[in-house]
Symmetry: C2
Subunit: 220 residues, 2 copies
C-alpha cells in the first residue's frame, strides 16, 4: 500500500472529453522507465502507474493488460530505430551506406541500453509475450543488403552467402552493444572505433578508411 502511493505530486484528473490523455502519459512514463538505465530489471505495471501518479488499476482503462502497453512501447522503439537506420543509410556510396547503418545501429544501442536490451537482448518482463513479428528481421535484411552492396557490388554471390555474411556481421555488432552494456567495468575503447573495426573486418576494407566514414555518422 505504502509502496504504491508515494505520489508527492497529486495528479489532477483529466477533464471530461480527454481521457485519452492518460494513455499518452502512460506510454511516455513507460518509455522513460525503459530508457532509464538505473533499473537493470524489467519494467512493471506498478512502476508505470507510480511514475504517472495513478492507481495501478487505471491502466486497464487504456490497455487490455500490461502486455499490451509493453508491446506498444516496444513497437514504438523499434520503429524509431528503423527510422534512425534508414536515415543513416541514405548515402550515395555503398560503403558510406553500410558504415552509416552499422554505426547508427551500435550508437543507438549504446545510447539506449534499456531499450536495446529489451528489443534484442530478450529482457522481457515475466508473463509478457511479444506479440510482434520477431523484431529485427527486416532490420537484419536491411543490414545484409547494405553489406552485400559493398562486398558483392556485381551481385555474383548467392543470396545465402549474403544472408550468412549479414547475419555474422550483425551478431558481432550485437555482441559489441551487449558486451559494453553487460560489462561496464571493462575499460572500453570508443564505441565508434569498435564499430568501425567490425565493419572493416566484415567488409574486407581498411580499418582507417572505415573510421573516417564512421566519424561522420550522427547518432540518436
Amino acid at each position: 500500500v505504502a509502496a504504491d502511493a508515494p505520489r508527492d505530486v497529486v495528479r489532477k484528473r483529466n477533464p471530461r472529453g480527454q481521457g485519452g490523455a492518460l494513455r499518452e502519459q502512460l506510454i511516455d512514463a513507460a518509455a522513460r522507465l525503459l530508457a532509464s538505465a538505473e533499473q537493470p530489471e524489467s519494467l512493471t505495471l506498478r512502476q508505470v502507474a507510480r511514475e504517472v501518479g495513478v492507481a495501478p488499476a487505471s491502466i486497464y482503462g487504456h490497455f487490455a493488460d500490461f502486455g499490451a502497453l509493453f508491446n506498444h512501447i516496444l513497437d514504438l522503439r523499434y520503429r524509431e530505430l528503423a527510422g534512425v537506420l534508414r536515415a543513416a543509410g541514405a548515402q550515395a556510396s555503398p560503403l558510406g551506406r553500410l558504415v552509416g547503418i552499422c554505426v547508427a545501429y551500435v550508437g543507438w544501442g549504446v545510447h539506449h541500453p534499456g531499450e536495446y536490451r529489451t528489443l534484442f537482448g530478450g529482457r522481457i518482463p515475466p508473463g509478457v509475450t511479444i506479440a510482434d513479428h520477431e523484431p529485427g528481421v527486416e532490420l537484419l535484411e536491411f543490414m545484409t543488403a547494405a553489406l552485400a552492396g559493398v562486398v558483392d557490388p556485381e551481385g555474383c554471390m548467392a543470396p545465402e552467402e549474403h544472408a550468412e555474411a549479414g547475419l555474422l556481421m550483425w551478431t558481432s555488432l550485437h555482441g559489441l552493444v551487449a558486451a559494453r552494456a553487460e560489462h561496464p567495468k571493462i575499460d572500453w575503447p570508443p564505441w565508434r572505433d569498435q564499430a568501425a573495426a567490425i565493419v572493416a573486418l566484415h567488409s574486407a576494407n581498411d580499418r582507417h578508411r572505415i573510421a573516417e566514414f564512421a566519424a561522420n555518422v550522427a547518432v540518436q
Copy 2:
C-alpha cells in the same frame, strides 16, 4: 504453501554425521536448474529447495544466504569453463591454439545457455550480488594472448593493440553465443562454422583453413 510442497518423492533425512550431504545435493540441484534451458528466468532459492525436496529454510544450514549458494555454483561453472579452454588451447601451433580456445568457448556457450547467460549475460537473480572478481577477465587475457600469438608472433605490436584486438574478438564471439540463445527463431548456420568465420576475420586467416582446425575441437 501448496507450491512449496509437491515433493512426491519424500526425502529421507540424512544420518547423523552426514549433514554435509544436503549441501552437495543443493549444489547439484542448483547446477541442474541453471543448466535447464526451460527456465529463461533466473534461479530462485525456493526452486532449489523444491528440486531437492526440502524446506526452503533448510538451505540456511549450509549457506549464509541464497547469494552464497548462487555465487558458489557460479564459481564452479567458471572454473569448469576455464578448464575446458585450457584443455582446448593445449596445442603446438599458435593458430591451433587460438582456434581451439575460441571454438571451445563458443561451443561451451552454445551447449550451456543457462550458465553462459548467467556468467556473461548479466542474468543474475534480483538481490544477489556477484562476490567474485568480474569473471572472465583472466579468460579474456587468455584469449587475447592466443590471438596475439597468431597475429603478432614476433611481438612487434603494443600491448594495447593486443588488448584491443582480443577484446574485439571476444565481443564478436560473445555476440555469437548471445544472439543464438536469444533469437532461437533465426535459422542459424552451424555454430562451429560461425565461430571459425569470426576467428578467421579477426586473425586475418583464410576461413577454410580455420574451419579445418575448428572441426577437430572437442566441446564440453
